[in-house]
Amino acid sequence: MATVAFKNLVKAYDKTEVLHGINLEVADGEFVVFVGPSGCGKSTTLRLLAGLEEITSGDILIGGRVVNNLEPKERDIAMVFQNYAIYPHMSVRKNIGFGLRTAKMSKEDKEKRIEEVGAMLSMTELLDRRPAQLSGGQRQRVAIGRAMVRDPAVFLFDEPLSNLDAQLRTQMRLEIKKLHQRVGTTIIFVTHDQVEAMTLADRIVIMRDGHIQQVGTPTEVYRHPANLFVAQFIGAPSMNLIPGKLVAKGIELDGGALVPVTPIGASANITIGIRPNDLTLAEEGEPALLEGQVSVIEPLGSETLIYVDIGQREVVATVQGRILPKLGETVRLNAPQDEIHFFDSDTEIALKV
């Protein structure tokens, strides 16, 4: 178990800089998820931490020790790859044991350790099978087993669930979380899926274009996104954004509606954000924030998404209950004032009220 720290981490390929100074401290035993769209630098950060690629400048520390120039094997880490990287010509036992090849242990101890890991991942009866005879989820478990067997200080997961179908992904997600609760080792997990990030992480690191956008607990990044990017990236369906202008009494939205709030440090152009589940249908006679026609209805079972055309743009609202507006019907939407997020349209930074 160990802490991990990045200090002004920069990575450049030739002259193209892909990471522009990453600073982050990961506590011992913490589960940190890096999330962002493809090309944001999250996998590169992980590969730098693993030692698979060399850093351009800055420092990487594992357990307080600078590991910049150490070989991957000297860093006391284990990594689970997206395509599992389990060897097709070896049995599960040999695959898991591969991580112990260089360990200074007796053969019996290694054998015992493999059995232990096999039992921990409930695949004792699969140990003598070949990977080709396993399902996707089982292969994933072998990959995790191979990482676990060495009992590393830090686990690295590089999009390990991307190759699984939706159902298995949910199941493996749960297993990884339980595993972390049981072994308590520091985990750094990379994904492009914000749901995975939200469900797994102690803290989420949201990245874009080689910069960290925000670091925080799932609740923090959901409740208080630091900027427009985070606001849109976290939460499904995405936050509705409506541009507006600062006027004397508050913010006048493009549609003409007025939000009677003046955020601190507001400039001329303000974008407001409302999460779909904060939008509610306004009662008869009650003043409404937005008004428009229902253009699409997506029933999800427990709730229904309605897309409302409010002029130049469309907003999504989550509607509970069984009495739903019909297609083409004009609806009026409201949102509680403290659930409205404000952003500077030019700098994209969130503004406090």
Partner: protein, 297 residues
């Protein structure tokens, strides 16, 4: 009349399949199978290419198995195979494995290795023959002489002639094998190597336990392909020993050269056919055995 339209989808597929298969079936029947069966039939006959054929039963085979030259030649053929195949595979793998890591002038180097494969065997054989000539003609011996080292007999020695002929044969095939090996090496996902790096195993372990096992399909293909090539070796031998084909004292003569000799110098077509059948059987057995041994269990 029942037209094409009234057929079921399955029947239509059959019609199409057979129309596409017609040409290869015709080709194989006329160009491959007919002559093969003709040769097998001929091996039980006596024929001098012009006169009439007469049935002589197993006489050709009896003569063949009693012929000490045949056994010498049979032996030579297997030496070509047993030396050539492992050697060419080993060398081409070493080249491919290292070339794969070279970025500098990668394409040029690869082209250089591939060049001999595209060159005419005859031209190559004559060039190497020139290398092997004694002083003052041969390149190698001139170099040895310049360094005051005694002459090396190369093609004149009954022991060294065969390896001397094998060398250009191996060299000529390298380009092709290197390309195939590199394609195989490239096909191995890089994460396998990255995982191994994180596990901290030695390069030697990576080579023996990851690269080579994963290259097995490539290796099987190349072993079979190159074995067939060495069992059928002819051009190099014929061109490098023209004044005494297969010499000295049959030391370099392979089966194909013996067949050629019997057929077009002695005009003993039936006897040549019997030798061909033996060669065919050897090729078949060797290929089947290799495929069986190296098949994935």
């Amino acid at each position: 009349m029942l037209g094409y339209r009234s057929l079921s989808i399955k029947q239509k597929q059959v019609v199409w399949a057979w129309s596409f298969l017609a040409l290869p079936v015709l080709f194989y029947s006329v160009i491959r199978f007919y002559p093969t069966f003709g040769a097998i039939l001929l091996s039980f006959q006596e024929w001098n290419l012009l006169g009439s054929k007469s049935w002589i039963g197993l006489e050709n085979y009896q003569k063949l198995f009693a012929d000490p030259v045949f056994w010498k030649v049979f032996n030579n053929t297997f030496i070509y195979l047993l030396l050539g195949t492992p050697l060419s595979l080993l060398v081409s793998f070493i080249i491919a494995y290292n070339l794969d890591k070279v970025r500098f002038m990668h394409g040029t180097i690869r082209a250089l290795y591939f060049l001999p494969f595209m060159t005419s065997t005859v031209a190559m054989a004559w060039l190497w023959r020139w290398f092997y000539q004694p002083v003052p003609i041969g390149l190698s011996n001139n170099m040895l002489a310049a360094m005051s080292i005694p002459q090396f007999p190369f093609l004149k020695s009954t022991f060294w002639a065969l390896p001397s002929i094998l060398a250009p044969a191996v060299w000529a095939g390298l380009g092709f094998q290197v390309i195939i090996f590199m394609a195989g090496i490239r096909a191995i996902p890089t994460t396998y190597y990255e995982a191994a790096r994180i596990d901290g195993v030695s390069p030697w372990t990576i080579l023996w336990e990851i690269t080579l096992p994963l290259l097995k399909p490539t290796i099987v293909f190349l072993v079979v392909f190159s074995s067939i090539g060495f069992l059928r070796i002819f051009d190099q031998v014929f061109n490098m020993t023209t004044n005494d084909p297969g010499g000295p004292l049959n030391a370099t003569k392979p089966l194909v050269l013996m067949i050629y000799d019997t057929a077009f110098n002695s005009f003993d077509m039936g006897y040549a056919a019997a030798q061909t059948v033996v060669l065919f059987t050897v090729l078949l057995v060797v290929s089947l055995v290799q495929l069986r041994i190296m098949r994935d269990r």
